[in-house]
Symmetry: C2
Subunit: 203 residues, 2 copies
Amino acid sequence: MIKKLQPIPRGPSEHSVRDQIVEAAAEYFSRYGYEKTTVSDLAKEIGFSKAYIYKFFATKQSIGEVICSNTLKAILKAIDEGMVDAPTASEQFRRMFKAAVEASTQLFFEDRKLYDIAASAAGEQWQACNAYQDQIKKIILQIIRDGRETGEFERKTPIDETVNAIYLVMQPYSNPLLLQHNLDLTEQAPIILSNLVLRSLAP
Amino acid sequence: MIKKLQPIPRGPSEHSVRDQIVEAAAEYFSRYGYEKTTVSDLAKEIGFSKAYIYKFFATKQSIGEVICSNTLKAILKAIDEGMVDAPTASEQFRRMFKAAVEASTQLFFEDRKLYDIAASAAGEQWQACNAYQDQIKKIILQIIRDGRETGEFERKTPIDETVNAIYLVMQPYSNPLLLQHNLDLTEQAPIILSNLVLRSLAP
DNA sequence: TAAGTGACTATATTACAATATGGTCACTAT
DNA sequence: ATAGTGACCATATTGTAATATAGTCACTTA
């Protein structure tokens, strides 16, 4: 197995200049898109030279990762918020799935430039995306655990398999790269797929 | 609802020249790809002028549709063959899913150029692809019906919903456009997703 | 009438030179 | 040591002129 070592972060992780770069990037990436924004643009915006930016980030992509990561964290937050107060594990799952799709869809329509970063990040396997997907899996795992404890869900199937399978079912709607192909299904799919998944979880 | 009228076929549908065009296209598309093959290439190959080709096909794409359609029909045939002798509806489903993924994957690796046509056809909603997807749905429907009759599957859920949901689950692996993103899962996914689907079908 | 085409146009694609961009490094200033 | 940069290079991107292609049509031939 090939070990994918994550790049060593460059420069101090807490630094006002670092924050300025991220702030400028958030604005430029959102307005002009990742490709159309140059590192020089960001440098000019914060009043430093391009070379100085590279004291804090090893590559342009690593700046993109931060922006992408923030974007995906916002989606995760929306998912969490959509789930609070769900009375049962089943309902938790329904709401989680629905919120995931809604948050991504909303991003697609309301901040298309940032969405595109997330999509291409998913295509290029950026860490930010892997972290997001891992988080989704964790949420699924937690819901299954809850449901199994309360007797709401069956307990025969190995829990890892259950989680992986559900994750695969959600993938086309939670992964921005794939969601693009399914925008016409964002209403229907989460509902009937939730139904199917919950039937599969019945004890 | 917008009615998508399918283009009026041009020229006689049974004609040796038509067959020659399709034959030449099959070879050229497979060898050089759809984009790199020009209509003039095909004309030269069969010894007629380009203008004559347009007596039989309205557009280059409509030639592509035939090739694409044949390709997808071959996959459907492989699926059917993979299913024969399955003792139960459950087993039918497992084999169907597995065969669908295997056939597409094999096409990807062994006739990449034709695979690419199918993929871009799926992206551009060619009729050939819609026909393929409809056929997949029919196969699913038949399996569910069998399973319900024998008492193997539950009968409470509306059968259309069941079929649609299962179709959505298979989509990322049966649709060439989406399969590309999931090539690393072609072993695992059909198995654990079949398990999930069958659990959801349990009476 | 059926089989077949050369010559044509508007659009798409290519080739490639000019420019822009990501990224580095030796260097200055404090 | 810390903060910061101009000048530089290899590669990517763009602008654009030249070419190629999809598709049409009036026409010929048998």
